[in-house]
């Protein structure tokens, strides 16, 4: 069934972006509406896909396959690069999350007041590349979208960011770009080690395919190639498969980010404007976890499982180290950024379990963190837009003045610190549970992971108490500026809050989509 609905997810934002570019500046009030309507259409399409999606089927669905280009490498072999889109349980959860977060970010972007044309066209470009990245079934296509994401992101931080934006955007770019170089190396090695059997017989030449489905099938492995299992090639004393895995781990680890490759995150977050922070934390970080599952584990399962302890330990270090750093911050946005590091650590712990509880937990944690961190950055944005101050100590007793805001902050904070009935708990519980029941990990990793839960309670509660409780007390000039939420803000935060509660009370809502695919991946 070639319905083209997946292509529409990529084409719609591209068309929107083009429309904004064509439309003269005189109509600049329309830009944000074009952006918003595109996002709404995307959400409708995603909802349709969710409705038609067969939850029991673990394979790719809605596949769209067409030839992109064939590169002849001499007379013996052909490089076949295809345009293949498809969704399985893993990617559909991420697509749904992206579409939601982009919609919220589009609403939040209404405040952008200069260079709207560039902003909104870049925004839609980013949407297209993120969705493309999750939808791609072809490694080359994945990589193109993955790389392309950096470009709009770089400009979005670099032009609309805070004072130190140039430094932050450059740091972001260099970090993630060096990560992608590693992934590129792995991609090339993977492709030249696999042959597409079907095409090989058709063309009577060796066909190198970028299709994920071809790459993950070990029958296609060329026995003399660099990645072969029987005759391992040693690189720096490591078998090539393991070496490739380590490169991927660093490449996606930077994106995730996992300690010690995380220092771009606080800077980028602090400087980025609110909607960009929301996208960065809500979606872009998830590509790291997605990549580990989709590329590293699916294609190199043996090497990945061998390094379970390393992945788990990295996750654990991120959890504890991120939490301690968050405790140390006085800047609200920085605190939230470090809490992101801490929460994404749970994803690694869940992946390291290599059982279906851990995998489900990891993907659930990504989804939940996507919602919660979006809420947290919107919350920081609310305060910053009113006072241009993000210091935690600058505010006190906001509860009396801003009751609705306080309620929503409470939901976000308690959700992040893992209060049951909000989504954060389920993610943390499942990842730790999976890690504890796993045969690959020492029990110490989940046991210390539990400390992370205690630490996150400390920093979120202390921040909540300092900012919201006590008598209302801020600087004189802030008193009139601090008003309760506007209707738009209530819409943005409220809809995310409803999602956290829904998924927290009834995790089945997500797990029934992802479970069968993740179980299949494990086989």
């Amino acid at each position: 069934m070639e319905s083209g609905i997946l292509s529409s997810l990529i084409l719609l934002p591209l068309l929107g972006s083009l429309l904004i570019l064509i439309l003269p500046r005189a109509y600049k009030t329309f830009y944000k509406w074009i952006c918003l309507i595109t996002q709404i259409l995307l959400l409708i399409n995603v909802m349709t896909i969710l409705g038609l999606f067969d939850r029991e089927n673990p394979d790719y669905q809605f596949i769209e396959h067409s030839e992109w280009f064939r590169l002849s490498l001499g007379s013996k072999s052909i490089l076949s690069i295809d345009y293949i889109l498809g969704v399985d349980g893993l990617s559909i959860s991420m697509v749904a999350l992206s579409s939601l977060v982009f919609l919220i970010a589009a609403v939040s972007s209404f405040r952008i007041s200069y260079r709207e044309k560039t902003y909104f066209s870049l925004f839609l470009l980013l949407t297209a590349s993120v969705l493309g990245c999750f939808l791609a079934v072809d490694f080359f296509l994945f990589f193109v979208f993955f790389e392309f994401m950096l470009l709009p992101m770089y400009f979005l931080i670099g032009i609309w960011g805070g004072e130190n934006r140039a430094y932050a955007s450059l740091k972001f770019f260099i970090y993630t770009f060096s990560g992608s170089v590693l992934i590129l190396v792995v991609m090339i090695c993977m492709v030249i080690s696999n042959q597409d059997e079907f095409f090989t017989s058709e063309y009577a030449r060796l066909v190198y395919s970028f299709d994920f489905r071809t790459l993950k099938d070990t029958n296609n492995l060329i026995s003399s190639s660099i990645l072969s299992i029987e005759n391992p090639v040693l690189i720096f004393g490591l078998p090539a498969r393991e070496f490739m895995f380590l490169l991927l781990l660093i490449g996606f680890g930077i994106k995730m980010p996992v300690v010690p490759f995380h220092t771009w995150l606080p800077d980028a977050h602090v400087e980025a404007p609110t909607p960009v922070s929301v996208i960065l934390a809500g979606i872009l970080l998830k590509i790291g976890g997605y990549g580990i599952l989709r590329v590293a584990y699916e294609i190199l399962p043996d090497a990945t499982e061998k390094y379970a302890v390393l992945i788990g330990a990295l996750g654990l270090v991120s959890v504890i180290y991120g939490a301690l750093n968050a405790l140390n911050q006085t800047d609200l946005k920085k605190m939230i950024a470090y809490s992101s590091v801490s929460h994404m650590g749970f994803v690694f712990i869940g992946i390291a379990a290599f059982n279906s509880i851990g995998f489900n937990g990891a993907v659930f944690q990504m989804f939940s963190h996507g919602i919660l961190s979006s809420m947290l950055f919107l919350i920081a944005g609310v305060i910053y837009e009113r006072t241009h101050d993000r210091n935690i100590s600058a505010f006190q007793g906001l509860a009396k003045k801003m009751p609705v805001y306080t309620l929503l902050v409470a939901i976000a904070f308690f959700g992040s610190l893992g209060l049951p009935s909000l989504s954060g708990f389920i993610g943390e519980f499942l990842t730790l549970h999976g890690a504890f029941q796993s045969d690959h990990l020492p029990k110490l990793i989940p046991a210390f992971g539990i400390i992370g839960i205690v630490l996150s309670a400390i920093y979120f509660l202390l921040t909540f108490q300092r900012m919201f409780f006590g008598e209302f007390n801020t600087r004189e000039e802030y008193r009139t500026l601090l008003k309760d939420l506007t209707k738009t803000e209530i819409f943005m935060l409220g809809s995310l809050a409803v999602l956290t509660i829904l998924t927290g009370v009834w995790p089945n809502l997500i797990i029934r989509y992802i479970n069968s695919s993740l179980t299949e991946i494990l086989k």
Binding site: K171, I174, Y175, V259, P260, H262, T263, Y321, L324, N325, L327, N328, N355, S356, I357, N360, G397, A399, K400, P403, F414, L419, P420, S421, F425, I426, F429, L430, L432, H433, F436, Q437, P446, A447, I450, I451, I453, V454, A457, I458, L461, L462, Q465, F468, F469, G470, E471, W506, P507, N508, I511, R512, N515, S516, T519
Partner: protein, 687 residues
């Protein structure tokens, strides 16, 4: 209706009540919230009663919740004997507390929040009680903790309230961390979370390292008990409960005395078949030690709510000990009687505090026996139950735990004997602090400070008092005795009614047909009986009571006298030590400070690592790329460029050379031209 819909209806009304009441924030309907909440709680009691009548035996309801393919976790509701009595207990006490708060909190501007939180709490507590597996229990366990956090910090502008709320939440979080680890370990051992599976499923056969399966099970129970330590305020995590008294008194009565804090006992009851003898001894010893320590602390408190809080900790120690000894029935029975009389005591204290305009210092009270006779009567009955006087429910329940403890201790003499000895000491201490409290709060004093505190008196109480006096003096002028009784009842305020009702509920007849024999208690029919009864125990307890009464009465009078004449008392270091919980509280606070905010805290090295190592390394890497760029630049300049330039220079010098030739020698040019032409022609011909 079938049990399923009844249970869900029961849960839903509280949850919807929470949402509805919270949505009334800042509207004109704020004042009505108490009434709405009261209706909800009465409805809840009715529904529960019908559930209790309609569902005998064990009912298990199960739904898809986390459908992970290998080991799905279901949302399971387990309704058995233990669930049923707790369901009723929680809601009936919630109903009383609701009625009480209707008046007590009526004038507070945030009253709707209070009632909303109360409803959320009841919902979560019911969820906890109904939970059919450990994960679900943990889920609601944290939620009740969250409600407790909200209610302790209810007056959020107060600094002390916030500090107490955070302390409660964090200590509970630490306990929960152990609890969670225990859950994981139990799952590792049994492959299930469900309570009904634990009893009959065998341990999974595996190669366990370090410890064998039995030891691991002991470890798991001890870890679970970590959660109980926090929630049910056992050593060493008990310090949050006395501070939790910062919350409104009715909330303290419901949450920090009657229901939430006993969740730990409830959990131990659920996993009772798994408790190994070693873990059991650890649990019962912890409980016994806690009860003695809290009893000592209660003896030296001056704040009436603090006394009650420590007494709660002490009684929780009793129940935990019972659970550790494997006496589920006795423990749950004490839980029930304790819920009634402690809630009664707290509400009496609330009435007193409200009557005295928020004065909580017992030394400044006194003489209230004539001012609040109804409350006094209720307080006396509840105190009797707390001490364990005959004819009260407390007598039956306490007796059965003490008896079980002596059986436990004497069965295998040795270190186990410590448990009953400690519990007996606690019962002596209980008598002492209860007598002290009653004397201080209610008994007549020569110089009554109450008059000074009061400027107005509450009308209902006063009216009731007047009628009561008339009734007693049998002054029959004008109207008949029946009218007077009616009038008395009419004049009874909400406080009096509620406290009296709770006091009557703590009498024996709700629990047993015989006031003195614990064998007849219906709990023991339901959960299994008592092994053996010692005849000498009631005599021992009676002796302890009399001794405590005498000693405490005299010393309390002495203490009050000293307080009035501002004499320095002979209070030693021990008293100070006991009053401040043996400095455990300060120790924790200092520890927390030292770790997170002090001079040499743990965060400094972390931030050092972050900036000086990781970030610096990144910057260095960036700089080093600059270094490579410089090398590349040098290479470019000195080799590539130089070679190009050299080539260029060569051509130039060649040109110069050639230029030298061009000096206007036309003949030579012509010659060259002709030679070249002929050569070309030759070549063409040859080819």
């Amino acid at each position: 209706m079938n049990p399923e819909s009844l249970v869900f209806f029961n849960l839903q009304i509280y949850l919807l009540g929470f949402i509805f009441l919270l949505s009334l924030n800042n509207t004109v309907f704020v004042k009505t919230t108490g009434g709405i909440s009261l209706v909800i709680s009465i409805l809840g009691v009715i529904v529960t009663s019908s559930l209790l009548v309609n569902t005998p035996g064990t009912v298990i309801l199960s739904y898809d919740w986390i459908p992970i393919s290998e080991q799905p976790v279901h949302f399971t509701l387990l309704i058995n004997a233990q669930t049923r009595f707790m369901l009723f207990l929680v809601q009936i006490i919630a109903c009383f507390v609701n009625l009480f708060s209707f008046k007590y909190m009526g004038d507070d501007p945030g009253v709707n929040r209070f009632f909303a939180y109360l409803n959320l709490f009841v919902f979560s507590m019911l969820g906890l009680v109904l939970a059919g597996n450990l994960l679900q229990l943990y889920f609601f366990w944290e939620l009740v903790g969250f409600c407790s956090y909200l209610l302790i910090g209810f007056w959020y502008t107060r600094k002390t309230a916030n500090a107490a709320a955070i302390k409660a939440f964090l200590l509970n979080r630490i306990g929960d961390a152990f609890f969670l680890a225990g859950i994981f370990l139990l799952f590792y051992l049994y492959g299930t979370f469900r309570f009904d599976d634990f009893a009959h499923l065998p341990l999974i056969e595996r190669n366990y390292i370090y410890l064998d399966a039995g030891q691991l099970q002991t470890l798991a129970i001890v870890l679970l008990f970590g959660g109980v330590m926090a929630k049910s305020a056992q050593l060493p995590l008990q310090v949050w409960l006395p501070d939790a008294m910062e919350g409104p008194t009715p909330a303290s009565a419901l949450i920090h005395a009657a229901t939430m804090v006993v969740a730990g006992i409830f959990l131990l009851g659920r996993v009772a078949p798994l408790i190994t003898p070693d873990a059991g001894f650890f649990i019962s010893l912890t409980g016994a030690l806690t009860s003695v320590m809290a009893g000592l602390s209660a003896l030296y408190q001056n704040d009436i709510k603090k006394v009650l809080a420590f007494s709660t900790v002490s009684q929780l120690g009793f129940m935990v000990t019972g659970m550790g000894m494997g006496e589920t029935a006795a423990s749950l029975f004490h839980l029930t009687t304790h819920a009634f009389f402690k809630a009664g005591l707290f509400l009496c204290a609330g009435a007193v505090i409200s009557y005295l305009h928020h004065e909580q210092d017992m030394r400044k009270m006194g003489d209230l026996v004539r001012k609040m006779p109804a409350v006094f009567a209720a307080f006396l009955l509840c105190s009797g139950a707390l001490i364990g006087l005959p004819l009260s429910g407390g007598y039956l329940s306490k007796e059965s735990i003490l008896n079980a403890a002596w059986v436990y201790g004497l069965e295998s003499a040795g270190y186990r004997l410590l448990v009953p000895v400690l519990l007996t000491i606690t019962s002596f201490l209980t008598t002492c602090y209860v007598v002290r409290m009653v004397v201080m709060v209610f008994f007549q004093r020569e110089d009554s400070p109450v008059e000074i505190i009061l400027d107005t008196t509450k009308k209902t109480v006063d009216g009731a008092l007047k009628t009561f006096k008339d009734l007693l003096t049998a002054d029959n002028k004008g109207s008949s005795g029946e009218d007077r009784v009616i009038q008395f009842i009419r004049n009874l305020g909400i406080y009096d009614t509620v406290t009296l009702a709770l006091a009557f509920s703590s009498l024996w007849f709700f629990y047993s047909s015989h006031p003195l024999h614990p064998e007849d208690v219906w709990f023991f029919n339901e959960f299994g009986g008592i092994k053996e009864m010692y005849d000498w125990l009631p005599w021992l307890v009676g002796f302890i009571f009399l001794a405590g009464l005498l000693i405490s009465y005299n010393s309390t009078l002495d203490e009050i006298r000293r307080y009035y004449f501002k004499e320095p008392g002979p209070r030693g270091r021990f008293a100070r030590l006991a009053q401040r919980q043996f400095y455990m509280d300060d120790l924790y606070e200092r520890l927390f400070r030292k770790i997170f905010t002090g001079e040499r805290n743990i965060l400094k090295p972390v931030s050092h690592i972050e900036t000086a190592w990781i970030d610096a390394a990144v910057v260095k890497a960036g700089k080093s790329s600059l270094f490579f760029a410089k090398i590349a630049g040098k290479l470019e300049k000195e080799i590539v460029d130089a070679s190009v330039m050299g080539f260029f220079a060569m051509i130039k010098s060649l040109g110069n050379q050639i230029r030298k030739w061009g000096k206007g020698n036309i003949q030579l040019y012509l010659l060259g031209l002709i030679v070249a032409l002929t050569a070309l022609v030759f070549i063409l011909i040859i080819l």
